[in-house]
Symmetry: C2
Subunit: 389 residues, 2 copies
C-alpha cells in the first residue's frame, strides 16, 4: 500500500492463551510502537501542559493530534512548510491524526452534511470550510502523521437503527474515496504514512457487520472502532468492541477510539484491541484527579492537606519522586500551573505503565492474572459509562 | 549573629575597577549563591509555570517566596511541619522570604496600621489577621528561608516628605523589634537563617539617610533597598540606589527589591547592587513577551507566524534548542500551557545568563565594556519607568 514496503507496518508478536489479547509492534519511519499502546491526546500539537521531553521521559511512544484543530490553527499549509508535525512540534516519535470528523460534529457551528462532505463554520472565527474525504486526506498528508484516519461520521448515542444505517453508508462511501485519494496524493515529507479505516454502526451489530465487510475489502493498514465512548453503557462498548475485534484482520492493528478509563483499557485489551486514545489522563489531571494502582484520587480534597505521601507510593514518575500530596494539593488550591503539570505527568506515566504491564503479561501469556491483579487492587468508585473524548 | 558562624555569610570576591560593581558569594546552608544574582519570584512556593528541576537546569541559585501568601495558604504551620519550604517545595537551593509587608499593603483588604503592626483581612477569604514584627519573624522562621526580611512599610510613589518620614520611623521601630525577636526565636529546622534590614525613605535622600544610619547600627546580615520600583522615574530609582549602595557596609550584600528590567539590572549592578528580584521575566513570559540580547520580543505577534528561528539564536535554553517562534506563537494563540512554560523558561534562562555575564565581567574588571556591549545590542523600545513587582 505504500512506497517503501521493506518493513511491514504491523508485526504481531504474541497472543495471550486464554483471552484475545495481543502484543505487537507498529513499525513507522519515526520509530516502533509496542502494542497494546495508549496514545496521549495532543489536540493542538501539544499534549496539554507537557513538553515533548516529558513525554519521552515517561515512555510515550505515539501521540494523537487533531486534524480539525490544526487545519484551522495554525493551518496545515504552515505545518507542511515546517516539514510536518514532528518537526513543527519537536516530537520525534510517531503521530496519529484523526480525520477531524468528530470535531466537526462536536465543535463546529452550522454543520451541513452532504454526500460530498461536510460544510461547517470554524468555532474560532466563524469562517466557512468544507471537509471532503479528499480534502481531509490532503490535510493529513500535509500534517504528516504516521497514521492517518479516514473521514467518517461518528454517530451520537443513542441513535436510531435507520440513522445508524444511513450514516454508515455515507461513512463507507467516504472511506472508499479516502482510500483512493490516499493512493493519488503522495506524502510531501517523504516518509511512510499509513491509513486506517473506521468501523461505524453505533450499537447495532447488523450495521457494524456491513461496515466491517466493506472496510476489510478496502484493505486498510489498520482498523479503528469508532462511534463508541460516546455515552453508551460500558457493556455495549465492550460487546461491540468484541464483535468488531473478532472479525478484524489479525494481521492489522485494532484501534478503539476515545477509550478510556484504566479499567476500560484492561477490559478492551482482553478483546484484542491494540491501540487507545483518550483525554481522560490529561483532562482529569488538569482538574486534579489522579490515577493510582489503588484507584482514582481527587488530589484537591481537604483530606490531602497534610498528606506527606506521593500521589502513588508505587510510582517513580517525577511528580511522585519529588512531591507530596500536600504540596500538589496546595498548588491546585493556589491555581498554580505546576499543579496540572504534575497531575498530568503522573497520569500519563500511569497509563503508559498500565499498557506496558499489560504487554508484559501478554508476552508471558498471563493476561487474566494481570487483569485480576489490577481489579483486586484498583478501587472502582462508580460504574459510570466511559467518558467521551 | 547566628549560631554557626564557621563560614561568613557574605564573601566579597572582586570589585570592578571603574564602577562600584561587585562580585561575591552568599554562603548558606543550602549552598552558595554567586552575586550579582537575580532571584526568580516563587510567590506561592513555585516559580510560576516551572518545576524545581527546570530552575536547576537553568542555573537558578536562589528563589524568593512570599510570606504573606504562604502564611495565608497553605499556612506556615503546615510548612513548618513539612520541614520548611525547601522540603515542602522540593527546591534544594537557597530561598529568601519577603516580610509580607508589601503584599499586605497591595493585596489585603481593610488594612489598619498601628505602631504595633498591621491588621488586615485576607484577600482570599476575608479572614482577619495581624502582622507584627515579632509575628513575621516567627512566620519566616517556620517557613525556613535562608534569608528573611524585616517587616516594613513600602511607601507608595509619590508620597509626601512628611509621610515618608513618619512611615520611616515606624519601619525603623519595626526593624529593631524584628532584629531583637530574631535573636530570641530559633530556627525550628536547625540550619542558619540570615536577616536583612530594608532601607526606606521614598525618593528623599534625607529620609534615606536616617534609615541608613539606624539600620547599619542594628548590624543586619544584609541590606535591602526598598520603596523603589513602585512607579518612580528610572533616574530616581538609580539615584536613590546609588545614594544607598554607597553608604551600605561593603562587607554585607546589597539587595535592590523589585527590580527589574534587564537594563535596570545592568545599571544597578554598576552601582554596587548584589541581589535582585522581579516578576518581569515570569509575568512577561506568561503574557508572551520574551527577552533576547537584541531586546524584547512579543512572541504572539503575527510577524512570527511562520518564523522558523528560535526565540533567541544565541540562547541554548530548552525552548530555544527545540522550538521555533512560529510554534511558540501557535501555542500562545491556542491558549496552551506549554506556551507560558517555554516563554518563562527562556526568560529565566536569559536573566540568569545576564547576571552570570555581569559577574564574569566584574571578575575580569571590564564591567563598563560589558554594559556598553549590552546596550549596543539591546534595543530599548521605550523609556517606561521600571515595572513594579
Amino acid at each position: 500500500m505504500n512506497g517503501r514496503l521493506t518493513v511491514n507496518f504491523f508485526e504481531l508478536i504474541a497472543k495471550d492463551d486464554t483471552t484475545a489479547a495481543r502484543a505487537g509492534i507498529l513499525h513507522t519511519d519515526h520509530g516502533d510502537v509496542e502494542t497494546p499502546i495508549f496514545m496521549p491526546v495532543g489536540t493542538q500539537g501539544t499534549v496539554k501542559t507537557l513538553s515533548p521531553d516529558e513525554l519521552l521521559e515517561n515512555s510515550v511512544q505515539i501521540i494523537l493530534a487533531n486534524t480539525y484543530h490544526l487545519y484551522l490553527r495554525p493551518g496545515d499549509d504552515l505545518i507542511r512548510e515546517f516539514g510536518g508535525l514532528h518537526r513543527f512540534t519537536s516530537w520525534p516519535r510517531p503521530i496519529l491524526t484523526d480525520s477531524g470528523g468528530y470535531q466537526v460534529f462536536s465543535l463546529a457551528d452550522l454543520r451541513k452534511l452532504s454526500p460530498d462532505g461536510v460544510r461547517f463554520q470554524s468555532h474560532l472565527d466563524g469562517s466557512h470550510h468544507i471537509f471532503t474525504p479528499e480534502k481531509v486526506i490532503e490535510i493529513e498528508r500535509n500534517l504528516g502523521a504516521d497514521v492517518m484516519m479516514v473521514l467518517d461520521e461518528c454517530t451520537p448515542y443513542p441513535c436510531s437503527f435507520e440513522y445508524a444505517q444511513q450514516s454508515n453508508q455515507l461513512t463507507l462511501e467516504w472511506a472508499e474515496r479516502c482510500r483512493e485519494h490516499f493512493e493519488k496524493v503522495a506524502n510531501p515529507h517523504g516518509y511512510r504514512q499509513f491509513l486506517f479505516g473506521i468501523v461505524q454502526g453505533s450499537t447495532y451489530p447488523e450495521v457494524r457487520q456491513v461496515s466491517l465487510n466493506q472496510l476489510i475489502k478496502l484493505d486498510f493498514d489498520g482498523y479503528a472502532i469508532g462511534g463508541l465512548a460516546v455515552g453508551e453503557p460500558k457493556e455495549s462498548m465492550l460487546e461491540i468492541s468484541k464483535f468488531c475485534a473478532e472479525q478484524l484482520p489479525k494481521d492489522k492493528p485494532h484501534y478503539l477510539m476515545g477509550v478510556g478509563k484504566p479499567e476500560d483499557l484492561v477490559d478492551a485489551i482482553a478483546l484484542g484491541i491494540d491501540m487507545f486514545d483518550c483525554v481522560i489522563p490529561t483532562r482529569n489531571g488538569r482538574n486534579g484527579t489522579v490515577f493510582t494502582w489503588q484507584g482514582r484520587l481527587v488530589i484537591k480534597n481537604a483530606i490531602y492537606r497534610d498528606d506527606p505521601r506521593p500521589i502513588d507510593e508505587q510510582c517513580d514518575c517525577y511528580a511522585c519522586r519529588k512531591f507530596s500530596r500536600a504540596y500538589i494539593r496546595h498548588l491546585f488550591q493556589a491555581g498554580e500551573i505546576l499543579a496540572p503539570r504534575l497531575a498530568t505527568l503522573h497520569n500519563i506515566h500511569f497509563y503508559m505503565e498500565l499498557v506496558h504491564r499489560a504487554r508484559e503479561a501478554i508476552l508471558e501469556s498471563r493476561y487474566p492474572e494481570f487483569a485480576n491483579d489490577f481489579y483486586r487492587q484498583y478501587h472502582l468508585e462508580n460504574k459510570d459509562s466511559v467518558l467521551t473524548a
